[in-house]
């Protein structure tokens, strides 16, 4: 019932068609040409495609576009990332992500090997990316910004490729309706309903194929989103996005809303081209039809992009940026641990070990502890059963995997 894409999946599993695509034969702009073209006030409509699969780099190029493009311009950027989990700016990685399986060296059951963890600059919830997923990003003037406009454009592009179940929902996501086709109902231009739309609880739930997030500045608005086209990893996604600490953590900030997902079942390059055409057509009225320009690894030499890139890869951005949260170890221990700016702020509860635990743990930055058991054992004067319980629960609930530094 789900993916109309079984056929494609088997093809995609064994090859990487995107990488082999014709677009990769083209050369990226030089750094100075990119900077000049992007900032040129005459370029009101611009279209870019990234050749890089590095999520940190693609997010940094996007951010550079947001901050550098002319105030009245509209800029599209498309990219595909290697497998990674991307959390929203104000989210808690310990409660949103199954951190323990990110760095698994071999492909064990239900894991993909090395999966990057990224905190983006925009809001919203946690998503999984891989090569079957096209990311689109549109930066436009804040005065023209609505949360739906660009998703509506993407829905029109999908429908032109025959995906007539696609619509924008009330959460600004794109979903595929799963109801029976109602005769005589035509969605025509309405991107918010389809002939397959059924009222809540009156039929099968729509399946999410694209989620939205936004970054706003006073003059500009960036809307970016995933588009799940042909991911071979659908069954694994929930495994990555389900944390063992979820029920034990009370977090400030933003909690993800989980939705059933599906592949759309389109070839990545086919959709990429359609989306570029749709974007050009929508903005052709501005009197310009942009040619698609390539960006990629070489643009790390632009200082502002390099700076953003390094920042996204710091431990502080990943862990210390986490909004305040508490971890409760009930019913195993009468202990509540409060964490602020990535450091343990206080311990509450009742235990004979409390004083010693406080002296060891309060002020400790989580990101500096790779092994909770070794950490506690080397510091406790006496080791009791309670200490072992604490160490085990910290290891399960507050692991800090190494962020992958190598490319």
């Amino acid at each position: 019932m789900v993916a109309p894409s079984r056929g494609l999946l088997s093809v995609f599993r064994n090859s990487t068609p995107y990488q082999n695509g014709a677009s990769f034969a083209r050369r990226a702009l030089s750094c100075s040409s990119f900077s000049e073209m992007l900032a040129d006030p005459a370029h009101k409509v611009q279209s870019y495609l990234s050749q890089s699969r590095d999520p940190y780099l693609n997010l940094s190029i996007e951010d550079y576009i947001l901050r550098t493009s002319p105030a009245d311009s509209t800029v599209l950027m498309l990219y595909v990332n290697r497998p990674c989990v991307v959390i929203g700016r104000n989210q808690n990685p310990w409660s949103e992500v199954n951190l323990a399986i990110l760095r698994s060296k071999q492909q064990q059951q239900h894991t993909l090997g090395d999966v990057h963890l990224v905190r983006r600059r925009s809001g919203g919830g946690t998503v999984f990316h891989d090569e079957g997923n096209l990311n689109w990003s549109i930066t436009c003037p804040r005065s023209q910004f609505t949360r739906d406009a660009h998703a509506e454009m993407v829905v029109r592009a999908l429908r032109k490729l025959g995906v007539d179940r696609a619509r924008v929902n009330e959460r600004h996501d794109i979903v595929l309706d799963q109801g029976p086709r109602r005769a005589g109902v035509h969605s025509d231009g309405d991107t918010h309903q389809t002939p397959y739309t059924v009222a809540d609880q009156e039929g099968p739930r729509p399946l999410k194929v694209s989620g939205s997030a936004y970054k706003l500045t006073s003059a500009r608005a960036l809307h970016h989103a995933t588009t799940l086209l042909a991911s071979p990893n659908l069954p694994l996604i929930s495994h990555y996005l389900r944390s063992p600490a979820k029920s034990a953590i009370q977090a400030k900030g933003v909690e993800s809303v989980s939705s059933p997902v599906s592949n759309i079942g389109l070839d990545v390059e086919l959709f990429q081209t359609r989306l570029q055409e749709e974007f050009a057509a929508v903005h052709a009225s501005a009197g310009q039809c942009p040619s698609v320009q390539m960006v990629g690894e070489e643009h790390l030499n632009i200082p502002a992009i390099r700076k953003g890139y390094e920042e996204l890869r710091t431990e502080d951005w990943m862990w210390s940026q986490t909004p305040q949260f508490t971890l409760s170890l009930q019913p195993y221990l009468d202990l509540e641990i409060s964490v602020r700016h990535g450091a343990i702020e206080k311990l509450d509860g009742d235990s004979s070990m409390m004083e010693e635990w406080r002296s060891i743990l309060v002020g400790q930055k989580l990101q500096h502890v790779r092994d909770w058991n070794a950490f506690l054992r080397s510091r406790m004067r006496t080791w009791t059963n309670e200490c072992a319980v604490l160490a085990n629960h910290l290891a399960v609930n507050l692991p800090v995997p190494e962020l992958s530094i190598e490319n």
Binding site: G88, R89, N90, R121, S122, G123, G124, G125, S143, R147, H172, S212, A213, Y214, K215, L216, T217, S218, K252, G253, V254, P323, Q324
Partner: protein, 143 residues
């Protein structure tokens, strides 16, 4: 005596004297306001708060943070959108409104009153455009 040079230590040393005229709220083109008074309270304007939609998280600066004009002193999340809050003036953060951590939605209710985000020790006359309430109202109409 480097320390003293870096941090004006008392109210008396501020460039701004406390007067009725200075207690007036001033607005920036980035839709922030500041009270150039003893408090130096700052936040986003009602206009900006309405444009953001329902606020679900407010990131406050740390007390003691030294900033230049236009630097980020906080961030807000609303309906999947992250937006930075910029400081209209250079100075040091002297106090933050922790109530917003517990209740971010208060920012929608009273962004120009109870829900200020930080108080600034203003150290320098701002270089950027600052508008009066009337001028700002005109500015947002034209926007």
């Amino acid at each position: 005596m480097c320390q003293q040079w870096q941090r004006p230590q008392s109210v008396e040393k501020r460039l701004f004297s406390v007067s009725a005229a200075m207690a007036e709220k001033k607005y920036t083109e980035d839709h922030e306001w500041i009270e150039l008074s003893e408090d130096g309270k700052t936040c986003i304007s009602t206009y900006a708060a309405k444009a953001l939609g329902d606020v679900v998280y407010v990131e406050l600066p740390e007390v003691g943070l030294e900033v230049s004009e236009g630097d980020t002193i906080g961030a807000v999340e609303s309906v999947k959108s992250a937006s930075d809050i910029l400081t209209p003036v250079a100075g040091t953060v002297s106090e933050v409104n922790s109530a917003l951590e517990e209740k971010p939605s208060a920012l929608n209710k009273d962004p120009e009153g109870e829900s200020w985000i930080a108080k600034m020790n203003v150290e320098q006359e701002p270089a950027g455009v600052l508008m009066s309430k009337e001028e700002y109202a005109k500015f947002t109409e034209d926007d």
